[in-house]
């Protein structure tokens, strides 16, 4: 049971404008009694990653291949279903199973790339702010405050309107979605590590700032960073799906799970499976990613709390 001290950070004004950070760090989790769920989630996550990696082997058809004679086939188990197309086909006769496999693969790849971009930007700035201090620290933390005080969707819309709907732009957008969380985390860790005797010793023996950062500090803050990465990864899956759903992410004919839901909306009345299949897959992916993120956070007992 949480004690009174644990609740204190809730009333810190420094974190007032950082709603996103709280949403990320203190999200609803399953009660601790449900550890069996972790096994299920890990299994599900493994399964999803495996089928995503094996998409070219597992997919029965080319995901973008159109077959006008096989349009709007429902999934197996419904009337008029065709056993060739296990999950049915869309309005252009494309096999939904194949599109889901490739879409899942692309969604996971984009979320991973976005996480890495955010990691590099965020950790770099966090190290700089924590180690250099002074004006650099003030400017970087000012940027963090601005970043966290804006609804990110607005930034994404602006960037996409200016730079176009390119996959590189999308990765960039995903990358700048959560850098500020890494920056906060790393800066806070650096500030506390900086006072420890071994860092002082490294500095006294003439280690440069870069050396202290990379060989003495980074290895010690790697586990909170990894946990933050997994939390961000699951958030980026949702962000990519939302953007692609709105038509602002991956462009047709290439499939991601979000774009399949977005494109299929026009056929919802006559062929609901076109939307329902990728939508339910997104739910599975999201559940697996969130449960794994929570599990890692609890497992490593990392204090991701802000200072």
């Amino acid at each position: 049971m949480p004690n009174a001290l644990e609740a204190k950070p809730l009333i810190k004004p420094v974190s007032m404008i950082t709603g996103a950070a709280w949403g990320l760090l203190k999200r609803p989790t399953l009660p601790s009694g449900t550890n069996g769920m972790v096994v299920v989630a890990a299994g599900l996550a493994l399964l999803l990653i495996t089928v995503a990696l094996l998409a070219p082997v597992l997919a029965p058809f080319d995901p973008d291949q159109q077959k006008l004679l096989a349009r709007l086939k429902p999934p197996v188990g419904f009337e008029r279903a065709n056993l060739t197309y296990l999950l049915g086909t869309d309005q252009l006769g494309r096999d939904l199973l194949s599109r889901c496999l490739y879409g899942l693969r692309l969604t996971l790849a984009l979320a991973l790339l976005g996480t890495l971009v955010g990691l590099v930007i965020g950790v770099g700035l966090g190290l700089a702010a924590g180690l250099l201090g002074g004006v650099v620290d003030a400017v970087i933390m000012g940027l963090v405050d601005i970043k966290l005080s804006l609804p990110f969707t607005l930034v994404a819309l602006l960037v996409i309107a200016l730079a176009g709907t390119d996959i590189a732009v999308l990765i960039g957008v995903l990358g700048i979605a959560y850098w500020a969380h890494f920056t906060r985390l790393v800066r806070a860790q650096v500030l506390s590590l900086r006072e420890l005797p071994y860092v002082e010793a490294a500095r006294a023996s003439g280690g440069s700032g870069w050396r202290i950062a990379t060989t003495h500090m980074l290895p010690n803050i790697i586990s909170p960073i990894l946990v933050m990465m997994s939390l961000n990864f699951s958030n980026l899956i949702l962000l990519e799906s939302s953007l692609s759903f709105l038509g602002l992410g991956v462009q047709p004919p290439t499939a991601t799970l979000g774009s399949m839901v977005g494109q299929g909306r026009d056929y919802m009345a006559s062929a609901p499976w076109i939307v329902a299949v990728p939508a339910l897959l997104i739910v599975l992916v999201s559940l697996a990613a969130m449960l794994m993120g929570d599990f890692l956070r609890d497992r490593f007992d990392v204090r991701l709390r802000e200072r």
Binding site: P2, P31, S149, V275
Partner: protein, 307 residues
């Protein structure tokens, strides 16, 4: 208090200035803004005229001041799709968005707070676990997927609710639920944690000892103290709420600002997008500070914790 106020307001001013300047820089970095402001296929002479009209042939500093002037006068030109001033297009939609956000907030509080109290009181029973599991699901299912699933069930299968538009009260049901789920889940969790903290306090034992009924203890002594962090958290989530509204408005063809902005991005209606981003970002920052100040007024510990 005065010092605290000044520090807060100063920070908002800096943030607003930075947002406005970043939008200005972004539009100049990515090419001549006239290409964004005007429809494609403009002939050379009109293009030249428009460049002169918007002052884009003048020195950068002067352009920057002109940008500020148009911001102050609200004159950001005509929307490319509807040939009307952007401020007018925007003004029409503001009310619709505001009412959706208010409905969402109301539903969030109406469900989230009681659910959190229930989860705290039932913390050792299966009912408490059930509340947390539902909260986790509400959190993990992306808002647009939930929206689509609601439409599939309640509009297309059961024909109970309209799937698009914002004309009548029944139109509010699904968008409000889809947008609230995430926040209900979060608030349930926060309220539960806050209640658990409070329930273990000495004054709760005193309240019971003096013979108050359990309901009176929980509601009068517990809830009142637990609500302090809860109020903060609601304010903190405003950025996430606005981001969510952008997506949900698009799904339900809600005649609001979010729908407008996504449409503007898709059609490269740059005048509308630029104005919208500035206004919404500004509003969010101002709401944040308002929550911040209100909170400081309620709870003196915030001021003590430092500005």
């Amino acid at each position: 208090m005065v010092e605290f106020l000044v520090a807060r307001v100063l920070r908002v001013v800096v943030t607003l200035w930075a947002i406005i300047s970043l939008v200005f820089i972004a539009t100049r970095l990515t090419g001549n803004p006239i290409d964004f402001l005007m429809p494609e296929g403009l002939d050379a002479q009109s293009r030249q005229e428009m460049i002169a009209y918007w002052g884009l042939d003048r020195p950068t500093l002067e352009q920057y001041l002109l940008f500020w002037r148009s911001l102050m006068t609200g004159d950001f030109g005509l929307g490319l799709m509807e040939r009307r001033p952007v401020a007018a297009i925007f003004g029409e939609r503001l009310g619709q968005s505001a009412s959706l956000l208010l409905a969402t907030l109301a539903l969030t509080v109406a469900v989230g707070v009681p659910a959190g109290i229930a989860a705290a009181i039932w913390r050792r029973s299966i009912r408490g676990t059930a509340v947390l599991v539902v909260a986790f699901l509400g959190y993990a299912i992306p808002n647009f997927v939930l929206a689509i699933l609601l439409v599939l069930i309640f509009s297309l299968s059961l024909h109970w609710l309209p799937s698009a538009g914002s004309a009548s009260l029944t139109h509010y049901v699904m968008p409000t639920i889809a947008l609230s789920a995430y926040f209900v889940a979060g608030l349930t969790r926060y309220t539960r944690d806050a209640m658990l903290d409070v329930l273990s306090q000495d004054y709760m034992r005193t309240a019971r000892a003096k013979g108050l009924s359990e309901a009176a203890v929980v509601l009068r002594h517990g809830l009142r103290n637990a609500l302090i962090p809860v109020v903060t958290v609601l304010g903190l989530q405003i950025t996430t709420l606005v981001s969510g509204a952008v997506v949900i408005e698009t799904v339900f063809a809600w005649h609001g600002v979010g729908d407008l902005l996504v449409g503007a991005t898709l059609r490269r209606d740059y005048p509308v997008l630029q104005f919208g981003v500035l206004v919404v970002a500004g509003a969010v920052v101002v709401v944040n500070i308002a929550v911040d100040l209100a909170y400081a007024a309620i709870d003196p510990r915030v001021r003590l914790a430092g500005a």
